[in-house]
Symmetry: D2
Subunit: 369 residues, 4 copies
């Protein structure tokens, strides 16, 4: 079944294997008249580029994007926007070990069973390089949201056991470290932790947090298309994500109603606000005007250079040594992936929300047409 297509109105269709000729995405349903350049998309892709510090793989991946359609004279035309990144690093390697073995924590075994065989060169479609299409599309969605005054901020909240407390998040410090952590002190602790992981030929997981601001009230729909449900799917579709929570999340399970309820109040100008935001900006699945806040749990990189026990395609027990350059932690590079998927999901829901009320629909058709 088709499974690389996401979104009802603002739809994306991604494709490409880690060691195929190219990877890419087609964004279909982007409104016409959005100014968009390859430079803006490239800026997003550069944020997922490896080799920027010792905590990311030293592989060279240039990943230069081209826009092949859907943009004319600097503006989107309303037709599909096809974007492509050619794989530079396609030289023939020795894939024997990975071709024959099922790496623990990877999708080798499940792909073989589901499809009968697999493209064994570097992970194929289950590689982290699959996210190139997501991020290129995310750049478009982010531009759309930005034009409407909506902002997304995404950052590393925790690396392994090193977690920044809620009250010590300082946005301006994010760019001061290679880990996308909004606290320089915790970033240093995290670096020390990662160095220990590296020296033990091990890897680390972490937590990514995202804050969406200035989203209008009324985004997301009741029942199955809740804002929270769509974000959950978008985020949990990212390879290494093992958990998702919105607002207080799992802490809410331990809380009492009197603690967890956010008290509404009216400002002097009549605007309705909430004293707290345990709900993470969503009530009944619909945005309530407070910031949307969610977190994603990222598992540790499964590719570690320790010898691991596993099985091969002949279903024999074997020892496996994974060679090559791998990220000791993917969290910093995954930040822009989470941000991209959130932007895509929100853009789709935002456009969907335009049809909820007859009075607004009437006004739209009287004004526009």
């Amino acid at each position: 079944m088709s499974s690389s297509i996401y979104g009802k109105i603002f739809s994306i269709s991604t494709w490409g294997e880690s060691h195929g000729a190219a990877l890419g995405v087609t964004v279909d349903g982007c409104p016409a008249g959005l100014s968009l350049s390859e430079k803006e998309v490239q800026a997003f892709l550069d944020r997922r580029k490896p080799g920027q510090s010792k905590f990311t793989t030293q592989r060279q991946e240039e990943d230069m994007v081209s826009i092949l359609s859907g943009v004319f004279e600097g503006q989107t035309t309303g037709t599909p926007i096809s974007m492509i990144v050619f794989n530079k690093d396609q030289r023939s390697r020795d894939y024997h070990a990975i071709a024959e073995c099922y790496r623990p924590g990877h999708a080798d075994y499940t792909f073989d069973e589901k499809y009968g065989f697999r493209d064994y060169r570097g992970g194929g479609r289950s590689s982290g390089r699959e996210t190139i299409g997501r991020v290129a599309a995310g750049a478009v969605a982010s531009k759309l949201l930005q034009e409407l005054g909506i902002s997304l901020r995404c950052y590393t909240r925790a690396i392994g056991p090193v977690s920044i407390p809620e009250k010590e998040i300082h946005w301006d410090e994010i760019s001061q470290n290679h880990l996308c952590m909004p606290n320089q002190e915790y970033a240093k602790k995290a670096e020390q932790y990662l160095e220990k992981c590296i020296s033990n030929q091990d890897s680390s997981g972490g937590i990514i947090e995202c804050v969406v601001e200035h989203l209008p009230v009324g985004i997301g729909d009741p029942v199955f298309e809740k804002c929270s449900a769509n974000l959950a799917k978008a985020i949990c579709s990212i390879g290494a994500v093992k958990g998702f929570e919105i607002g207080d999340g799992f802490l809410a399970a331990k809380a009492k109603g009197s603690e967890n309820n956010d008290v509404f109040f009216a400002e002097s100008d009549g605007q309705i606000k909430k004293e707290t935001n345990h709900a993470g900006g969503i009530l009944g699945g619909i945005s309530d005007g407070s910031p949307i806040i969610f977190r994603a749990a990222i598992k540790p990189t499964p590719s570690i250079s320790q010898i691991q026990k596993t099985v091969n395609r002949q279903h024999e027990n074997v020892d496996l040594a994974i060679k090559g350059r791998h990220d000791p932690v993917i969290v910093p590079r995954a930040v822009v992936v989470v941000e991209s998927m959130a932007a895509i999901a929100i853009a789709d829901m935002l456009l969907s929300s335009m049809t909820s009320r007859m009075d607004r629909i009437k006004a739209f058709f009287q004004t526009s047409l």
Copy 2:
């Protein structure tokens, strides 16, 4: 936008407000030849019925289901299965307070903004009674899975701070308490905790866990239709859910690769197994043959009888006293809702998985037709 429809192949379409004439669901895409009776659906609905202990609301909701179509001579016909539950308890009440005020933790405010007004009788479409359609459809999906040898077990893992340790889960004790907890000792602690909540006019959240066994390898698709992503959406679409995790979930974020990787091994008959199941039965978004394990964080019931500050429709600050009978905890009643949504999501993915391989498709058409 339509938002009460879920599923691509096995689709459900739910409808109904808490105090409207009726609620129901249409299941479209259920294969023909599944034996199904109203009794089986009723058994599922009875599990979400209130009034079974002091920890659930004392409202009387009989919720008798009728199957109106799609079943003939005890078997599904392959056409839409329409199921209906008439609302018995529709007497005219004083909804003035709830009509005029925005209850904290509820969707009153967001519905009013999104739609311009709302059906204010008891929560309307954002009421917990909306889950009647999910559960009736869940009964059908569960029957389908059961016929294929797949089992789902769902239970209360935690109530507020009272959480059953992983190694102390005893399935057979679930039916011994009113909280669906698989440990009688922890159930008693939870009851004590809830009694304190009740005496404080307060409410509690909790955690529901679900285990899916005997699912074939190969269910779920790469990229956006991962088994984990679809479960995340299905579960996070349930009203009170604020978090979702699969396998080790948020603990994986703290773990190292060497700890989190599940070692594969081959049994003497060549079958591939995993020594551990940190992944929760899913690798690369595809089921790996181990049990699927996930958890949902449920927020505390927002309806509490303490006086709460809030605002009214005129955007004035007011005090609110919520009357009526409300659940001090909805977790035990939500267990069957989580189980239903999991069954629906898995049934949909299972049917989708039949088209992944040419060799199997060829064999299918040679055998069947």
Copy 3:
């Protein structure tokens, strides 16, 4: 696979068999704030009611509709609108012949092969009564279009060989005959033709034409979601439809470019019009401001009382006599079905069209929210 759900934004989900307990539809995605009453829906259903002349079956079908959800205080709430019609005439009959035989021109054989068995009571899900759900939903869609100033007119263009020439269509004469023909003289010819069919125990087909006026320019999307493509699917999904054409349709195949091209001209106020409308109001799949005109070919009723040769479930050759009361022509009753499907398809496309331009989206969010 689910197949009784239609529409992306304005979605409908129909259900029910001809001799089951009830039939119905859920409309999901209708905007909030549309005034709607059971009376308005009933008026649509009454137009498909049989027994109004000798040219429709004399069966009694009262078909009283109830709205069970989604309407509150006379207005749609934005949540699913469930509508139900109980089957009155459910007495146990002798279905032996129809249960055992495959009626020519009916779906008995294909249902049995596809599903393994079928609900053989009166056609089950392939009965013309299946259209009750379409028409109830069509009433809602028509109301929505009417509120936006868009009108649909649907009528019988031909009965068998009796076809009204284009220049002799007189709207006001439609209500003067039982055949929904906009020309009283041709209606009389058609009646004579039908009487001959009846006396020969035979039946007739015909052509239904539909004109949609005041649709804004810009409805429908390029490539796969063309206005013409969506109308084609909506109309060809109706049981007896064997052909669909837009504008000049099959005549365009015989025409030359110089004849078929519609010349644009600007009126003195600058408004762009077309001198002719061979295109039927659609250019490149997008509405051009001229009336949308399409036609549907309806096959003759397959149930005729002549003895017919056929086969039974045991794959033996047999003679079949179909008893009971059947329409000698279904065209007049199908007019409202075609109109309903057109209204549903157009409502869905109209709502979809709101997201095509950034300038309009920006204005929408600045004004509305």
Copy 4:
């Protein structure tokens, strides 16, 4: 809204403008293990190539396809198959006339209104070059059907008024002329007719017919997903199509029930057949084992070199002379487009049909997994 994506299970996503950098398609949901080469796809694309006779445009379009993903070692992997054709002929031209004017019969005006502006180079997304993506995807779908023993034959039935009678169709003569007509004598008449069109600076329409053989009984679903409805949408989504009919089509509207009903009979081995095939192989929306037969009406090429009256972007009346090389008839080149869309629609429905019966599903999971 996204509108360049087609199909539920076997999905295609096309992109590209006539004079952009490239055009292409991603096929998502193709089963793994289908052998596929660029050569096979190229063979399909070559059938839509212009410049093969004086009846098609003399523009040079090489249209060499590359497969960028989803095929590994000669076999589909089950992941998205991205195919691309770079536009060779991109030199800067004088698009002034076409940029400023609304060509009759083209989508210039409707695109401008819908999107606010348009890519005016040679038709942009509404160009016939858009079909490159459809045909490349059609090659994949056709290969899939061929592997299952299903065959599609598509040919020119009529050019303008020159129509081959049903009984004079001789398959083997198709390759003897440039018009894809299965009758050499009629092909010559058509050539004479086209030469007259050319000399009058005019163009011609025509009719394409398609026959699908060896499709199993049971393909297509009741109500909205009828085989006929899905084919209607797929075919009417092609740019120049103005009409669609299945089986006897519009002739059925004139027929009597006794003429139009196809009599079933059982062969000596018990197989059920039909004496005639007025229904075109579909009963109740489901394939009945007879050949599926449908026709598409193609309008005459709107680009003619006669001076035409029209309006410009400033809404002024002007005269327009369209320069360049245009097809006097597109029917022969559209044959492979119709065949492609039919193959894609049928492949999607065929895969969908695997979930209709519990007995077959059980057997599938017992055998396969």
